[in-house]
């Protein structure tokens, strides 16, 4: 199970990093999402991978560590909000800059002039 789990995280991180290094916003957003999935899985494994253990203290001698689950939950919520924000920002960038490059080729735009 450990091998499968670790490979999943590894493959997700690899894909995420590859996509983040792309020059356009859509792959970058996808890459960020993949990376955050990988991070969530990784955080979950910080409490050790075990099966058939109670989740609540006091119901048995063995119990699973509840904290990483709370951490993952928090990380998912925050990651969701951030992904929503970055998607909207990417759309705004597409509209404002006229292209979807992360570097945002400004083209022939003069410096903003104060009136």
């Amino acid at each position: 199970m450990e091998l499968l789990y670790a490979s999943c995280v590894g493959v997700l991180v690899t894909c995420g990093v590859y996509l983040i290094l792309r020059a356009r916003t859509f792959p970058v957003v996808l890459g960020l999402t993949m990376l955050s999935y990988a991070v969530n899985l990784f955080l979950f494994s910080a409490g050790r991978l075990t099966i058939n253990k109670a989740v609540v203290l006091g119901t048995g001698t063995d119990y699973a560590d509840p904290l990483p689950q709370a951490l993952v939950l928090t990380a998912i919520v925050i990651g969701f909000a951030m992904t929503a924000f970055v998607v909207i920002l990417a759309i705004r960038g597409r509209a404002d800059l006229g292209n979807d490059h992360v570097d945002g080729h400004l083209g022939k735009i003069e410096h903003k002039e104060h009136k």
Binding site: T25, L43, L71, G79, M82, G93, L97, L106
Partner: protein, 505 residues
């Protein structure tokens, strides 16, 4: 109520943000402005009260929801964190007052966002738990993303995309580091981690080291340490100056997190991992000072120059973090307060100058003169003298203190020439900037336009920030005693652990 005082600097800005979104404030601009300023004032007052309380009676440990550390999340108000909380609240107040003269209505929700940012920064300073630190980082980041887009144009969108992507990657790295550290140490409470890290054996030592150094990557990104500083000049220069002034505290959050983690957790008593980040911090800090001062010299407008000044100050602060002794930490706190206030003031001065110079704005090119040369000139020269570190202002005291601290260590040979040359570069760049901005005209007849004078409230905000610099010198004795007491408290690791784990309210 007084026993909940430690949570107020977090709760008040949250309340303020919510109140400002509700109907009476949401609809009417004057009500919104008054409410925002009043809440910011209240927050500054409460922060000052908390500082007084902690100064009188020692560290306050506030267990949120009554769950004791290390199982629950605790807020730890010690001398270091309350000082920075007061600094943040004060900066928030100055920015709120300044923005009331029109800057806040250039986009939506400026005031609530400012308060949410202050909430995140205060929380990051007060928390005693690393995961909670992550949460507050995200709170301050999402507020900063929106503030960066305030009065959005193409330049802002472009730098926002880069800033947001970078910080999202940073957050992922932060979580990976926390996962590793939790997996090894079984806790994320800073005091508890400090206790457990010295007992690590075998392979766990290396895992903890990986986790700790990944944290360094994150904090270096937030604090704009070389080579992760590249986002800063563009972001700060394209944001509205009033927003950039508020952002002056955000890099300091990264520095503070480094101070906490590498002094308390991986500090003197960490066994095999003691001072593990020190060589990295030192080298990167010196390189940051060099690159920052090159940026200052190369800057073509005042805002970019100030953004690079922020980088130089971060380099200086991190060099002091790397020294890891009481004197260096005390100097760091002094310099941190000074540099935050002065850089913020300089951003606001740049805004006024840009408004009054018409088309050339704050670019270093001959152009129309400013409408209020004496007022803005005085503000600029005070800020410039303070930032360069000329006597008699706080920059000078800070610089002497820093040089004196580094003299004791064997690192002076590298640090002194770099730091003094950087100061010289700053002096040259700021003199050139002042000369061009205030004295050089394209034609003899290009007189300043009347009627674009700064509003008294804007001037008040700038003066409030600038006056702290001489005050830091006049009350230098008391202030430096406070800094030394705060640094001693931070370096008393065993005492800190006992206080935090001994039980809060």
């Amino acid at each position: 109520m007084i026993q909940h005082l430690a949570s107020w600097p977090i709760l008040l800005p949250m309340l303020a943000g919510i109140i400002l979104l509700l109907p009476p404030c949401g609809k009417s601009i004057p009500i919104r402005r008054v409410a925002s300023v009043v809440m910011a004032l209240l927050n500054t007052f409460v922060s000052a009260l908390l500082l007084w309380q902690v100064f009188q009676s020692g560290i306050i440990v506030y267990a949120i929801g009554g769950w004791q550390a290390p199982f629950g999340i605790v807020l730890v108000a010690d001398l270091v964190s309350v000082l920075l909380v007061l600094l943040t609240s004060f900066l928030g107040l100055a920015v709120t007052v300044y923005s009331c003269m029109g800057d806040d209505e250039k986009g939506g929700f400026f005031h609530p966002l400012v308060h949410f940012l202050v909430l995140g920064v205060n929380g990051a300073f007060l928390t005693g738990d690393l995961f909670n630190l992550f949460v507050f980082f995200e709170v301050l980041l999402i507020a900063s993303y929106s503030l960066l887009m305030h009065d959005g144009d193409k330049h802002k969108t472009r730098s926002a995309i880069q800033y947001v992507s970078l910080n999202l990657i940073g957050s992922s790295v932060f979580l990976i580091a926390l996962g590793i550290l939790y997996g090894v140490l079984g806790t994320l409470n800073i005091a508890d981690m400090a206790q457990k890290v010295s007992q690590l054996q075998g392979d766990d030592v290396y895992l903890a080291k990986i986790g700790g150094l990944l944290l360094l990557v994150v904090f270096a990104l937030k604090g704009a340490l070389l080579p992760l500083h590249l986002w800063l000049p563009n972001t700060y220069a394209s944001a509205m100056p009033v927003v950039a002034a508020l952002f002056a505290i955000m890099t300091k959050v990264g520095v503070y997190a480094m101070l906490r983690v590498y002094t308390v957790i991986f500090g003197d008593e960490a066994g095999q991992l003691a001072h593990m980040a020190q060589p990295w911090l030192w080298g990167l800090a010196v390189a940051t000072i060099i690159v920052g001062s090159i940026g200052v010299v190369a800057a073509q407008d005042l805002r970019k120059l100030t953004a690079n000044l922020v980088i130089v100050s971060v380099g200086t602060l991190v060099a002091l973090v790397a020294l890891q002794n009481i004197n260096a930490t005390a100097a760091l706190l002094y310099y941190l307060v000074h540099s935050t206030l002065v850089c913020a003031a300089l951003f606001l001065v740049a805004d006024l100058i840009a408004h009054q110079r018409g088309k050339v704005a704050d670019r270093f090119a001959p152009g129309r003169g400013v409408a209020q040369p004496y007022l803005l000139g005085t503000c600029f020269i005070i800020a410039a003298l303070a930032v360069v570190g000329m006597p008699p202002l706080s920059g000078f005291v800070g610089k002497i203190w820093i040089l004196k601290t580094t003299l004791d260590s064997e690192k002076a040979l590298l640090f002194w020439p770099v730091y003094l040359l950087a100061s010289f570069a700053l002096l040259v760049a700021l003199s050139r900037a002042g000369t061009t901005l205030f004295w050089e005209r394209k034609h003899q007849d290009s007189e300043p336009t009347e009627g674009v004078k700064a509003h008294p409230l804007q001037v008040t905000a700038i003066i409030a920030l600038l006056v702290c610099s001489p005050l830091l010198v006049i009350f230098g004795g008391a202030v430096s005693e406070y800094m030394i007491a705060a640094a001693t408290q931070l370096h008393d690791i065993t005492g800190g652990i006992n206080t935090v784990l001994g039980g809060g309210l």
